[in-house]
């Protein structure tokens, strides 16, 4: 297959260049540094883009125009926000628990950067690829909640405290569902390695391959993913109506900026993981035997596929967010413990049965087998 716009060639060239000219130690250090820079740069750019997109789409849903005075259609609005927030004063508050207060934003941001690292943005564009990738995702993404809890606890503010406690209850509950939904996929594809999961979806995306149970798992993952990241309509921890700004009420300047960025990035991460495990990741649409069609699809580079699929999910998330009112804490927990979790448990058993009996699309129709 010809892939003229892929970055795989560039990356392997760089790799051989460093390996042949430097000692293995320095090659690893430099490659590591490059990857880190690339990840952080992507992180910042995606965050800025997402902030702009969210504000614009929100406005369109609300029959407004959104930012439109900076640049054409206001596209550099979030750059202005970035500049402002970088040099905004950070208020040092006397009666907070100092260490925890300053550490909290880092927990949040580190958690989302680490999760960000395992997302395969395209063919070969993945910073880390463990054989237990799914477990890594689940483990690393739960660090963020520590940041939220610490922020709420250390701020010495009652609003923050309530926000953080809500967040804790919410996160622990929905972590179960999210985990089970991902496990359903693991059962289906038989691997935990992210790159292999993507590869296994060459001709049939998991969401179709596992048909009914996979679709249920997909929906549940989207719901619980958004609940985990405190996005509306599950934004109880920072419910503006009652808690002013929830767990980050006392944060100002760049520290607040970290929370703000992480919120948007988490939305992206959830969509990206859902894309990867359910919608075939960066894999273009391919049909067994239609070589011409497949070639055309491969001309579109894999990262475009990835961002397109992720974009659709993000749009859907915004759509939901701006259509529904906020849930109440007991409704939220009801939804999880009375609906999502039981359905999920049944669902994973159904999936096991489906896989064992060979009722997946791949087993039934050989044309979908990779």
């Amino acid at each position: 297959m010809k892939q003229p716009l892929e970055l795989t060639g560039l990356i392997s060239n760089l790799h051989t260049f460093f390996r042949s000219n430097l000692t293995p130690f320095w090659a690893t250090v430099i490659e590591g540094a490059l990857v880190l820079i690339a990840v952080l740069a992507a992180y910042a750019i995606i965050a800025l883009a997402l902030i702009y997109i969210e504000r614009k789409i929100t406005a369109f849903f609300q029959s407004r125009l959104g930012p439109n005075r900076l640049g054409k259609y206001g596209w550099i609005q979030s750059v202005a926000d970035l500049i402002k927030i970088l040099i905004k004063e950070i208020i040092h508050i006397n009666k907070v628990d100092k260490v925890l207060f300053y550490a909290a934003p880092f927990f949040v941001i580190v958690s989302s950067v680490l999760t960000f690292g395992i997302i395969p943005f395209g063919q070969g564009l993945q910073a880390v690829d463990f054989n237990i990738g799914i477990v890594y995702i689940l483990a690393v993404s739960s660090i963020g909640i520590i940041g939220v809890l610490l922020a709420g606890w250390s701020s010495n503010n009652k609003y923050s405290m309530i926000g953080a406690m809500r967040s804790g209850a919410q996160f622990i509950s929905y972590e179960l569902s999210a985990g089970f939904a991902l496990m359903t996929v693991v059962v289906l594809s038989g691997t935990m390695q992210v790159s292999e999961i993507v590869e296994s979806q060459r001709y049939a995306w998991n969401v179709f391959n596992g048909h009914i149970p996979a679709m249920i798992a997909f929906v549940i993952y989207l719901i619980s993913g958004h609940a985990e990241t405190n996005r509306g309509p599950f934004d109880l921890p920072e419910a503006e109506g009652e808690l002013t700004a929830g767990y980050h009420t006392e944060y100002s300047g760049l520290q607040f900026g970290f929370f703000y960025l992480a919120e948007y990035l988490n939305m992206f991460i959830i969509a990206a993981i859902a894309t990867t495990v359910f919608l075939g990741g960066w894999m273009p649409i391919q049909v067994q035997g239609w070589d011409g069609f497949n070639q055309v699809m491969w001309y579109i580079p894999s990262y475009v596929w990835f961002f397109a699929k992720t974009g659709v999910l993000i749009f859907f998330s915004l759509w939901v967010r701006w259509s529904f009112p906020r849930l109440r804490i007991d409704l939220l927990l009801n939804l999880e413990w009375k609906y999502l979790l039981p359905i999920n448990l049944v669902n994973i058993i159904v999936m096991v049965v489906v896989v064992l009996l060979g009722w997946t699309l791949e087993d039934l129709f050989p044309i979908f087998r990779p």
Partner: protein, 190 residues
């Protein structure tokens, strides 16, 4: 009802009405947006003629106004926004006559109740609809309405068209931009 059935029918009715909500926002996404774009639309912006923004005193080409300095507006103002100061001047016939010295109006205090305009016996003051009034300095909001060197119009000839005055219900031609601009320059009171 069977609780098992109720559980699932609950899920589906909920899903149905959620989709109803999503449909409303989806339709809104493609509708024309209602936003009016100030300041981009400054040239086409239509502010209602009756909108009360700035009190002004119309002056004709001879720099004459209609204010007799009777002070009725000042008395009627509910919160003391208007201050009228006058001088006693002797005219040719030797009779003393009150002449307007300064008609001071505080933009930052006015409640726009329109009582001054309604009660003015000589139709000397009106509100215009120039809404752009924000200033950096509080004192800039205190306007002297009569222009320097202006005097009372002798007879009721060459009246400028009477703008809307409450109960008369007449439509007005909005004050010309130029006029207000000039007015602002003169409204400097330290």
């Amino acid at each position: 009802m069977n609780p098992f059935f109720k559980y699932f029918s609950g899920i589906f009715t909920a899903l149905g009405s959620l989709i109803g909500g999503l449909r409303v926002t989806w339709r809104e996404l493609w509708r024309k947006k209602v936003t009016m774009q100030y300041p981009e639309n400054r040239d086409t912006l239509q502010i209602s003629d009756r909108w009360r923004s700035e009190l002004y005193m119309p002056h004709d080409e001879n720099n004459e106004h209609a204010c007799t300095a009777c002070g009725i507006c000042m008395i009627n103002c509910p919160n003391g926004t208007i201050t009228v100061t006058s001088n006693m001047v002797e005219n040719e016939e030797g009779r003393k006559k009150r002449v307007l010295d300064k008609h001071i109006w505080d933009y930052g205090m006015c409640t726009f109740c329109n009582i001054c305009v309604i009660t003015c016996p000589s139709d000397a003051i009106f509100f215009n609809n120039d809404f752009e009034g924000a200033m950096f300095d509080r004192s800039k909001l205190v306007h002297t309405l009569n222009k320097p060197g202006s005097k009372l119009r002798e007879k009721k000839k060459n009246l400028p068209p009477t703008p809307l005055k409450g109960e008369k219900g007449a439509t007005i031609s909005p004050p010309k931009k130029q006029e207000t601009q000039q007015g602002i320059d003169d409204k400097k009171v330290s």
